[in-house]
């Protein structure tokens, strides 16, 4: 029984220690406000992007773009009369559970606005967390329609939505004369979003015909089944809405099979590696994409700044992340406070704020009023601007 008594004593001592320290620190009984950063000190922005996993490179582009903006703004005097901006970055790893933990982490760290979000599947579960903490979210990359269908007041998307991408795709198909198309997705949420939306817009419009709408399993090497299917149906254009790994393979295998039509990819496949993997089929591939730094007019200086600072080239979503931070700073300035509700109102009121994707005004749905999607085409292994729609 000595063991039992000893354990009981240990337990009581431990409880006593815990209860006495409970008043301090962030425990249940403490009166400390774990949220707001108070009226002085740095204004923190939270960024939940992929740091590990297969989307890690894009996370790096986004983090750097945001950091560039933070440093520029701080150099120009910061916000709210001299308070510096601070960027807190956490990993979403494109996984719901980790994204949720990271979102909680940045909320606990006292951020004022969230400027992250790449994988829609990982960003969706974080919405209620930020909403509960009354923090506005400016999402620079994730663009699944589901993000706005819930109608949460604090969510703002500054990347073109799946709907807007589909509209651009359809406009291109009509203008360039591709009257028969095949829509192929990789059975993930972002990708399927686009094909479903495109199919329904095509149906409403009536001038283009969808010969095939199908999915493939990502992560494989052999896509002969979908290639056979496409060869049998013979569409003029194949629209692939998944990521570049599978996109490159499909384009390559289509070329090997002797496909005579053209291919178009959605923004998830716009990556230099697409052309490398596509090999012989790499030339002349179209893409619907929001502006990247190297296709924007007048962005040379920005690119030079980025390169000088990070010793690397910018990539997809660097500019959107840059703009997200600038937008957050502007909204904070307009609101004059770090209160979430006021910043949200300020965001809604913004009209004509200059961003890389054009002057900003949010729709009532909190999406961009113009998607900012353009058409790109591959030339000599690189994506360049195509003029069909301009």
């Amino acid at each position: 029984m000595r063991l039992r008594t000893r354990n009981m004593i240990l337990l009581s001592v431990a409880s006593a220690v815990v209860f006495t320290t409970a008043g301090c620190g962030g425990g249940l009984l403490s009166s400390e406000d774990s949220g707001a950063s108070g009226a002085s000190g740095p204004v923190k922005l939270g960024m939940v992007v992929p740091i590990s996993g297969s989307s890690a490179p894009t996370g790096a582009y986004m983090k750097n773009g945001a950091q560039l903006a933070v440093d520029e703004i701080n150099k120009a005097g910061g916000v709210l009369k001299g308070r510096k901006l601070e960027l807190i970055v956490e990993d979403e790893a494109c996984d719901a559970q980790q994204a949720v933990a990271s979102a909680n982490k940045v909320v606990t760290a006292g951020v004022v606005v969230s400027v992250g979000g790449y994988c829609s599947g990982a960003t969706l579960p974080t919405l209620p967390i930020f909403q509960k903490a009354n923090l506005p979210m400016i999402i620079p990359a994730a663009n699944s329609q589901e993000l706005v269908t819930q109608g949460l007041a604090n969510v703002f998307m500054i990347n073109g939505t799946g709907k807007q991408q589909s509209t651009t795709a359809l406009a291109f198909m009509k203008k360039a004369g591709y009257t028969t198309v095949a829509l192929v997705d990789d059975n993930t949420s972002y990708s399927k979003d686009i094909t479903t939306e495109t199919a329904s817009q095509i149906q409403k419009d009536g001038s283009v015909k969808v010969l095939l709408k199908t999915s493939v399993t990502p992560g494989e090497s052999d896509y002969s089944a979908v290639v056979r299917n496409i060869m049998a149906k013979k569409p003029a254009l194949v629209y692939w809405t998944g990521y570049y790994q599978e996109g490159g393979l499909i384009i390559n295998q289509l070329k090997k099979a002797g496909f005579s039509g053209k291919t178009m990819v959605a923004d998830g496949s716009v990556d230099p590696s697409l052309t490398k993997i596509a090999g012989a089929g790499a030339e002349g591939v179209f893409a619907t994409m929001t502006q990247t730094p190297d296709t924007l007019k007048g962005a040379e200086k920005w690119i030079a700044n980025y390169k000088a600072k990070f010793k690397a080239d910018p990539g997809p979503f660097s500019t959107q992340s840059y703009d997200a931070v600038r937008l957050a700073a502007k909204a904070i300035e307009d609101a004059g406070t770090t209160e979430g509700g006021d910043i949200t109102k300020a965001l809604e009121a913004i009209d004509g704020f200059p961003m890389f994707s054009g002057p900003l005004k949010f729709t009532p749905e909190h999406t961009l009023s113009s998607g900012g999607f353009v058409i790109l085409v591959t030339k000599h292994g690189k994506f360049t601007l195509d003029n069909t729609l301009s």
Binding site: G53, S54, V216, S224, A225, R228, G248, A257, G279
Partner: protein, 297 residues
């Protein structure tokens, strides 16, 4: 239709090459090497490393360079297989089956994320690609690279079969798979034969990896996971422990998958393959050519 058959056969030959390694190792030490698919991935990456280090190669020499790289990769992958056997499986020779299986899972993870740590998590494009002449055969579009690869695979499999049937090591392998203790008593150096088995099985998987890299063009650190499961399915279909069965099983699985995706759609491909596995194990566990896998009840 003929296109479907040809496509199925082509994919099937990859499955068969990898299933061979599975079957051989299982036959000899009754272990399902869960990490075998990752050996395939390792081979692909070793080939990639060799090709990139060789710098620019004129297009006319590309097939030759590829063959050289294939051989070297096979050697290196085989060696890797031997090292893994020594470090992870031999110490557990007498241990409960569960322990060895779990170790294999650990090896699989180590290989996958080890390569991810070294080469980065992003997919890589093979510097040398097999492109080539295409011609129509009975309504199917057949390309020269496909034929070359299938010939190489067939050659390797025939060589293996000859090795097992005609050499003393091959006889030793067959004898150990029948009765390990008796073989030991008959003076067979069991350890050496096991090592050789791992070497050959891993070399074959490595060959498949390099060929996949050269043909499809893309490699990534998780490519071995699903291929390993498919290869296991192929081995089971053909009858595990049976060399000819593994070859047959690979081709059959390639076929069956091609038909399955044609009917059900690409997103059900893996479900279809696993369903075939489960059906075979439930209804015909011996496979087409092989031994019993169920417990004595």
């Amino acid at each position: 239709m003929t296109q479907l058959i040809w496509d199925g056969l082509f994919v099937g030959s990859f499955y068969a090459l990898i299933a061979l390694g599975y079957s051989m190792v299982y036959g000899i030490i009754k272990l399902l090497n869960f990490a075998h698919g990752d050996i395939y991935m390792l081979g692909a990456f070793i080939g990639f490393a060799l090709l990139t280090s060789m710098g620019g190669i004129p297009a006319s020499l590309s097939l030759g360079a590829l063959l050289v790289v294939l051989l070297v990769s096979m050697l290196l992958t085989g060696t890797a297989g031997v090292i893994i056997e020594r470090l992870a499986y031999r110490p557990l020779r007498g241990a409960p089956r569960l322990a060895v299986l779990i170790t294999a899972v650990g090896v699989s993870f180590s290989l996958e994320y080890g390569i991810a740590a070294i080469a980065g998590p992003n997919p890589r494009a093979y510097p040398i690609r097999l492109e080539g002449g295409v011609f129509e055969v009975l309504g199917a579009r057949v390309s020269l690279p496909q034929i070359i690869l299938m010939l190489i695979a067939a050659g390797l499999m025939i060589a293996l079969n000859g090795y097992i049937q005609r050499t003393s090591t091959g006889r030793a392998m067959r004898s150990i798979s029948l009765d390990a203790n008796a073989s030991l008593l008959m003076g067979i150096n069991v350890n050496a034969v096991i090592t050789r088995t791992f070497f050959i099985g891993s070399a074959l998987a490595g060959a498949a990896g390099v060929m996949a890299g050269a043909y499809y063009g893309k490699i990534d650190f998780l490519m071995g996971f699903i291929i390993g499961l498919k290869a296991f399915t192929a081995a089971v279909i053909g009858g595990i422990g049976n060399i000819k069965g593994a070859m047959l099983g690979g081709l059959v699985l390639g076929f069956v998958e091609a038909f399955g995706t044609e009917w059900f759609g690409g997103q059900w491909r893996d479900v279809f393959a696993f369903a075939v596995l489960i059906i075979f194990l439930t209804l015909r566990p011996t496979g087409i050519l092989g031994e019993r896998v169920t417990e004595r009840m």
